[in-house]
Point group: C3
């Protein structure tokens, strides 16, 4: 993965840059902060939150979390309340962008102690978007730790997800984990799906990826990384298009909808495939096939599209717990980045 | 009123849910906070401010107020910088909304200690809007106190208004209070008008509603509640279309413009009535008919449309004091909700 | 200058309202805060940041700076998340504006201890815009100190600029300072150019204004004020269209692009001039003509349009230091306004 080539240990861009032990150490901190939320770990410190896309949970949990630890989060929305930004190097900037990321990153590094960024892919050219160039550009020019608030992976969500699973299941090694593609009217970002594979394999789970057809396979850089993670735990990464096979004996069902990468940038063509897979929605009958599995989703979730009301309102749904854990894990991540051991 | 059926004592959705004594207790706290603004009542606590509509005073006073008490306010603008939200139950969410209020309310309840929401009516169907379903949905799903920052009533404004009147007049019981409809080029929300009737009658004033014609009567649920409030104080609620009668002997003139409910959702038809009533603007000659009345308005106010420069700049205008009191009463409300006696 | 007629000592609208000694005192405070950033000078205090235009540096540095001194900044964006505002007096407000600046300024004065405003000119009528009527209206109605976050001058930028120059050069008196017009595809605000002349002359530098042709002269109110400042230091203000003459022996090169005032409000006509001056971009060969000059720009900057990558990435470029100093000088300014000696 590109991420490993440019790896900077003090950035939190992908969990692949961190060992399972490091991640567990952050999760342990998060558990303590859940018990005892206030502290001074970020006293006087600030984090710039750069949102190139909408947010509700991420924004709230970072702002509240920084405050609870004595710090401060500044919310910036370039293109809306700040200037559009150029990410390419050496360019003659005669387009819309008024400023280069090198200046943005350097200046924010002078004002703030961390920079967090949300930058969804552009849905035009996957060959470009798959390089994660926006956050990589920020990290290249920043003098302070950079945190991924969702680009083409969503590592803060991964941490919240694992924390919720550990709270309910304890040790995760060897437990059957299913990531299922689910229905949504639009071809969405693959970030949370990529992240689901990475983190479930990193923590030694027995992971199955359920997709409607091969076109919904995730990018090889994540499929391969997940397979390597799995191998390191003597586990495997299974891919199937068989709903019954996937749900059978599952102990965790995580769902996410995403666009088929071969049709990236062409939603009309993708729709021809997509429209056939409404039945991938997670519902009660499917969950009944599992081994009393927990269910979760990263939110936001369209009810009765991605998952039924029955599933969302069931006791086995831990989506709200996972969302809550965003607060705790992000406080732990910021704390570890500011005070590395 | 619907509000009484679903009453939850720890929400601040309408003043009708609270006794006059409770409200007075909050007003007394507000007066103390006006003298001595800093404290620790909200130390470590946070409030989510959900703005579905624009705001200046509300936003500033909640943010500053939370800070002055050691707390923190997160500003969220769903549809602008966060996801559009669905409020109906059981719906197949295949429209624009990416998330259901049940998840939003539950997740914000995990991050924050209070949720405040501004949700103006949609101006299409009064039968739907009059149920105040947005804030009722939030309150139904939230696990923390919910505060109304203006929906179809505006209880925080009510409290600031009464506080300003008490500061100038002392006991309000029996004083002649006029709520007058006033001119504005558009059919606005009835919220502050509803609130004016509710709070003035709740505090035992002798209330007159001055409207151009019957079409400008307020919703029966508020007319009736105000009449009941008045009766409990052995007062009455008078309705008139006679400007001279209304202003004569008035001790308080509060003005507000709103749309005629029979024409709700049809501004063109409403304009046929509205255009005849420019002369309802509050001006010096009208104020001269009163018993040295105080004048106020909730702001924002179009000068020389709703009230003349002469009125706005007069010593009897207490609109700025009322606006200031938003800060004090909201701090008191948050404090009472977090620390109920 | 108009500013001097309406001068209110406790506003920070233009550096022309303040003596060099006062400004130096703030710069000395800023230097101390750069060494030791945390304090209680703004404890419990708040500042309203009114952005009528986009911002990144200004917003972040004011928010973080207020926090570092124990205070709090509220960000307001009228027209976006708050109501559009009327600035004219005596007007019948039947247009788009829902509120008059007199109410906005008075109410914010009740909530906050300072009001800062960014209000770029409207690019239609320079005779109107040159009066700086927006911030002047705020200052007229506000009861608290008003800070200019860029209107037709940018005094906070001036202070950051001078601080960066003093850090590198010590005493500035008599040093050759060049403000050069530079290329940009659009006719921009003259604010930073005006400010550059004002502050460089105020601190006794030997100032040269380099422009492509006479149409790019700045407004006489600033040309005259700068000439007076220069005269008070026995210096002169030189204007030239000769690139070689300007760069020769320069010790500081500050660049900015702006629109030709005779064509204000007519970008198509202005383009006929502008398109001929791409070669004013600051580049390595031009900088080589100087006496090892420092280079700076206020940011945002389009690379390879206003200045080349070579210049921006050179050791002599202090744009990032200048940007950092925004944080320090603004903290010093707020501190001096809240605690005047």
């Amino acid at each position: 993965m590109t991420s490993q080539i440019e790896k900077k240990s003090r950035d939190f861009i992908t969990t692949q840059d961190w060992s399972q032990a490091d991640l567990q150490s952050m999760l342990d901190t998060a558990a303590k902060l859940k018990e005892s939320p206030y502290g001074e770990d970020l006293k006087g410190k600030s984090v710039a939150l750069l949102f190139l896309n909408s947010s509700m949970r991420t924004r709230t949990s970072f702002q509240v979390g920084a405050h609870q630890l004595g710090g401060f989060a500044v919310v910036l929305q370039p293109g809306s309340d700040a200037w559009p930004i150029e990410f390419e190097t050496g360019k003659i900037m005669d387009g819309d962008s008024e400023e280069h990321i090198s200046e943005v990153a350097k200046v924010l590094s002078r004002y703030c102690d961390m920079i967090a960024i949300r930058a969804f892919p552009k849905f035009k050219d996957w060959n470009k978007d798959r390089t994660d160039y926006v956050i990589r550009s920020v990290a290249k020019h920043a003098d302070v730790p950079v945190i991924n608030m969702e680009t083409i992976t969503h590592p803060c969500q991964e941490m919240a997800h694992v924390m919720a699973l550990q709270e309910k299941m304890g040790d995760l090694a060897g437990r059957k984990y299913v990531l299922t593609w689910t229905w949504h009217p639009k071809p969405l970002n693959t970030a949370v799906a990529n992240s689901s594979l990475l983190i479930a394999t990193k923590f030694g789970m027995d992971v199955t990826l359920l997709i409607p057809e091969e076109a919904y396979l995730l990018d090889p850089q994540y499929m391969d990384a997940a397979a390597e993670n799995a191998a390191a735990h003597n586990q495997k990464l299974t891919v199937t298009t068989d709903i019954d096979e996937a749900y059978s004996d599952a102990e965790v069902v995580y769902c996410k909808s995403w666009g088929a990468l071969p049709y990236y940038g062409d939603p009309t063509a993708e729709w021809e495939l997509r429209q056939n897979y409404r039945h991938f929605m997670v519902d009660g009958p499917k969950m009944a096939k599992t081994k009393n599995a927990l269910f979760s989703h990263c939110l936001p979730l369209r009810r009765n599209i991605k998952a039924s009301d029955e599933v969302m309102d069931a006791d086995y749904c831990i989506a709200i717990d996972e969302a809550e854990n965003r607060l705790h894990v992000q406080k732990a991540i910021m704390s570890h980045l500011i005070h590395p051991e």
